[in-house]
Symmetry: D4
Subunit: 252 residues, 8 copies
């Protein structure tokens, strides 16, 4: 509500066309309306790219299948479905074309878009057990139109394996560094890379790893610049953010 | 500018006693008038009652004095200033009538409103050291137009002292239960009272009290129904909420 | 025991009608007797309203059925049974009229009372997964005689969905804000509402949500005034407290 | 090793009856020998009373049965077996007379001793769900020769139920106060009792009770004097300590 | 006013040596006489023994001095003042006979009572820095009529030093085991002792000792039977409880 | 010595304008030239942009002044100095041109570069007390060649203030969301923004804010996509990462 | 890359034999190449001894069997397989000679090497339930060529049992001290031993042992010199490190 | 008095060069000679080497000076004094030859012993601020007879700096890896080194480093074999343990 509108409202009151109570209510509610929210989509939408996302956790097979079908009927040609088991993927596959990653527990309905980001998203993991989270991140990034390079199982306790990939890391547009246990990978990668590093702690580990807290703290305390952190096991969030960074803004 | 004032202003406009331009100017002079939402004050506004609030922590003596004076000049006749030292109270007192509670580190500028709530707000504390938080709560409630009964130093390890006040607690409209250390007071009071109990953990204690965490957990886990909790040492928040509960809504 | 009684006791001792030992014992036990506890019900009772409550967790199907039947036979016509599965609801239903909410794991035996509170209790949730706790709160409030408005799945990351309900929130007598993960809903709702907000953190989430601790801390630290917090997943407690606030006291 | 012995040792060296190496070794090991450890029994034994204890957790049914039989054959006539299921109790019962408390998951082999302590051990619990821990404590104390009074389900949110037992608590020789959730019972009982209070937090609760941590902190921070705390759910430890306090020392 | 005094007073009334009015006045002069519960002192009263206690923390020098003087005038001949600095002790000493322990920050006003407990209270500490808490415990126990043996600086990393005191520990009526850092002392002492062991964690330490939490957890998890724990640095609580255990009940 | 300079130096060598010996010497004078990795600066180097950074915390005024002077003499024309007090800024200013932000405790030596990023970095704060961290972020971003828009004091409890800036947030290339207490700002901004959001928890708050932990958890659990988190109070890290995202890669 | 190489590179540039871009890339990648990493083995290898290790957790029976067979075919004659169940051991045993410890969940394929360390590795445990971790440590050390002495079930609450082994501990080359619950064993052993003590906290315990955290903190805070700690339940790590210490370096 | 001295003394007795009385007296003058265990020094004794240690924290300048002088008079020629300020070092220096490291807050009285360990102790730190702990470790190791190589300020975010020291690390007999913040150094060093790595977390950092906890967890979770951890900031403990490992046992 800008000045002109407030003036108009006051005029209505002055002319008796609006009651005091009505005007009071409209003044109170003013700041929360007319802000052009039509541009905001329904659910944490994937506004920039070509895919829509269904967050599968806590939804039934039936719910997911129906949402996916509805999207497909509306003309959506790439749909990402996260955190689902093979039975859900199969159910979707009965009606729609679907590709499922059992490791990442993530499916892409329809054809993936072509990679149109500025550069490459490099997904680096410390150990074999981090690959589930890594696949969630990688498939998410691919479904959002990014070229993805996977560099798996290069934990810092065998540094030479990581260093063998120095060039890929140095040439990345954005790196996703995924590690459980001590999570030191993010710092080392952050020191090598010349681009934003998204660190993903995983719940892999035992004892004092506390379900990913140790890795989380390590990553938050990283001395390397350009490192930021997402929630434990949040592969989707990392892939999504990486895609955001890798895509030029439409308006700029 | 509170709701009543906006309503009055609109009435003046409706009755032709105030011009549209004048009204617009007065609305703009209130904070955020460009948003047309004059009822929201500077900081987490006191929309319901008669007082405005200045949160003193982290503000200089000079800043507070100037804000208070500006409010006073705009016609505000009860101003609550929280978390300030005596020197700030003195500085305000040089220009405005002020009453300062050293214990609660809280001041009321101007005359307190008359108590117009449904009933009585009873403030109960476990120990002598909880009185600082208690005074913040009590003075806040009084400044917002509530009758307050103070029942101090009635911790549960000397149960008879608390039980001597059974009647006051049973007749309260809302009880604020304040305790550090083990915080058991909230549960016992919650068992006695027939009304909402706002529990305030305090940072009083040593060792495994962890700066109020022990009391906080105790209160969150209370088996007594009708108990809810605010942040550690948040006397103001408890007093404010108590006043909300004790005042009938304008519209109902 | 007031002065007069002590004097009478001393007189009995002086006159030999009471032994020293008897008097000593009566002096020691004095403060814990004669306090009119008959007004306190058996178990954290629902003193204000029409319903009685059976807390189902940890009780067998048989125990619950027998308690409910006994209450019914005593003439109680609204009985709330919390935290039970469908098999318990069915068992009760064999003998008594019962309505069961599978989502909220809560049942109402008999007919619900008519809503006689001052206004409306608005239950707001951030995500779909918070609805179980929300239903526990909503059904509790309804069974205690409140009109309840449900505003579900309006998390702050899609702000426009919440803002679409601004008017309902502004007109509420009390709001119950339920959220897991980051729990930011309580603060935003607290900023919109003009009435007490009861925040309920839920254990929904993963990683660094720590089973509801993240949401709990967010809610305790809310900068919005009028917000207080109950235990994680404590929908019953929130519904009960909301009803307390929404009902005028008999004596006032 | 006292001075005389060291002198004797040196003399042996001087006289060539002991080699330098031998003497060195004996000097190094000296403080750890000859301390009369024969008086210390095999396993954290129950030295004061009549019962021996088998800690059942982590032992197989077969192991426990064999240990119990061996003790019985050595003439032991009261054997306490803690943390076992009914199948273990049954297995023992095939050969030996046994009484099993399913609630407390504890068994007494043979006949219980007669109660020979100074006074009564009072076991107080806050809620129904704390009874399992309470029975472990009570049966332990009984098996060690104590008269036990059970005061169950008297949580502080229904204070009158606890106060109805004021006299029993005031006449106790030692009180065991058992509570989960907010654990406030220990403080209130500590304020009533005139004797040592052993507080036992239980893992009963949900949300911010954190498996007994909330109750533990409450109890450690108790303002009531004479209260000390044992580990979460440690009913055996409390019963054992209570028996120690309730029995006069042989030497005094 | 302790139980014995109330009994004496009642006896005087019974024997006609005191008038009812006089008795009533004297009961009222005691704290909470309106409750007729004179045996409870000002703060968490010392009902069993001969001393009264002033908890000094958070009280001004002037407040403490006045409370002590008032107690003295009422005839109290042993007064314990905890957690005070030398300047407070000096201020008290200006008017009353006082003995101050700078190490324990605790003072005894008047003459200490003669030790009348069943046996000896042994206070054991792990390191030099734990002596402050130890003195608080020891002086408290002495002021409450116990014979105290101090065994200081016998931490478990130099086991022979502790073992040199095996006999004292084995003959104790109750042991207070005080340790910071890893707190292992309580377990070892608990294994040696045949009597209740009160473990006191201290905030001595650095790094992962977390202000006493490490020692607290160690002590709570002690495998030795007969060990219970009080709050971090709570020397007074340990000394008080030790005295309770060491004194026979009046009525038994 | 940044990449551009090394390239220039190599070009000079290629074109014969610089001798091999000269080039070698200049490479050696740069840090770690024996490693041939001149692009890495002294500490967590700023490889991409025009500024070099001195991390001031834990360095003496003298150390900082000498490092800055040495950089200046080597030809560096923009030097960022973080976490310093005014006295350090003054000391640097005695010899070099310096602009100091007292609020952000950060200084820029020399002239700031012109903003050459893709778009605008928007720095949003919840409260007045978060401005110190915000200025560290904003000045860092500016010194690295970014246009910065400051949107301060728009916490979610007064939502209209934030919504008034919807357009700026929607048009940002990257948003830095800074908040203490409950940290809900990041989620709400993440829901409004169409670009990466870097969340910075601050240590502002009291009670259960635990020095920034509450805000940190809130931010990690944000349901809004595109949100990542840096360490508590790490304004520099956020500004640096924002600049990375806002600048196109040289090679792409 | 040493100075000579940089000079040679510059010369190539000067002579046009290398492009500027090539030179720049080689300078950037220099420090990460040519460091002789060929000496580093594939996976955190067991470089010193005779055995290779397969970390079994998270690997399928089939994967493990194939890895073991491949190693065997390459001529490896001692292979350690950790964290596997009996079915995996059986599967390996179908093709290769294998010895499996069910307690330690660890297998040795082929014949164990002869013990060639400097002295003896003594493995000490507090309780029966710690033996699983102990066997993992002991079998690991044996497979790496160490003589191992097992001293089990000698917790500090029955000190005499531990002291009975004083000589073995004093003569050890390295001691592994394994304990759950309060973990005090490490300190006491550290006080007795004259050699490095590797402390292993175990997740054995209940209540406030928090899955090994209590023991971990105890061990980290040990006052005994020469004690260091590995992760909770990390028997393999302790056995491996013990072997390292017990073996003389080849080059020294 | 170390083992060698006791052996020499016994030899003198055996050879008649010392009388039994003389020997007895000298044994008694050593600490705890009444226990005949002269090899244990005052506090957590240095049994293996040539130096004795005074732990300075919590001791007065005067106490330390007197202990050092007494040791010196008894013939001790290398005395290590930890955690002292320059004024204490000066006070000692007035009477005895002393070398003080202000950085490490540690002093060596007398001449340092010659390095007689098997190999070299390499002390590696991540950042400049870790040097204080590093010097405590390094000076401790030197005073106990070890050759020490310092590799400082080689944190993993600038990996090339660490890699430049690969050879030193690979040739070490034992490595002490010291780091605050994220503590990743230990893992990387553990991957490079072929010898035991003692990890020391430091309290350097801010925000979510929690005074060293983040680094501690990182180090405990290290995937590199051969890594163990000591308490936060415990440089002395690391240096002492390193010396133990680097010295062959006398008896083997």
């Amino acid at each position: 509500m800008d000045q002109a509108e407030v003036r108009r409202l006051l005029q209505e009151v002055a002319e008796g066309r609006s009651s005091v109570d009505d005007a009071l209510l409209r003044l109170r509610m003013a700041p929360f309306t007319d802000l052009g929210f039509a541009t905001l989509d329904d659910h944490r939408g994937v506004r920039q790219g070509v895919a829509e996302v269904i967050y599968g956790a806590g939804k039934t097979v039936d719910q997911i299948t129906r949402i996916a079908s509805a999207m497909w009927e509306r003309g959506q040609r790439t749909i990402l479905v996260t955190r689902i088991g093979p039975e859900t993927a199969e159910a979707i596959g009965a009606a729609l074309p679907v590709e499922y990653s059992e490791l990442g527990r993530i499916a892409v309905v329809g054809e993936g878009p072509k990679a149109d980001g500025s550069g490459t998203v490099v997904v680096v993991t410390a150990g074999t057990s981090d690959q589930s989270v890594a696949e969630e991140a990688a498939v998410t990034a691919e479904a959002l139109g990014n070229q993805v390079t996977r560099v798996y199982d290069v934990g810092v306790s065998g540094l030479h394996r990581l260093l063998a990939h120095t060039e890929e890391i140095m040439r990345a547009e954005v790196v996703i560094a995924i590690a459980g246990m001590e999570g030191a990978l993010a710092s080392v990668v952050g020191g090598l890379a010349d681009c934003p590093v998204i660190a993903v702690p995983t719940s892999v580990g035992y004892g004092a790893s506390f379900g990913g807290v140790a890795a989380l703290l390590t990553m938050l305390n990283s001395c390397a610049s350009g490192v930021s952190v997402v929630n434990i096991d949040n592969g989707f969030g990392a892939g999504y953010l990486a895609s955001m960074i890798n895509h030029r803004r439409s308006g700029s």
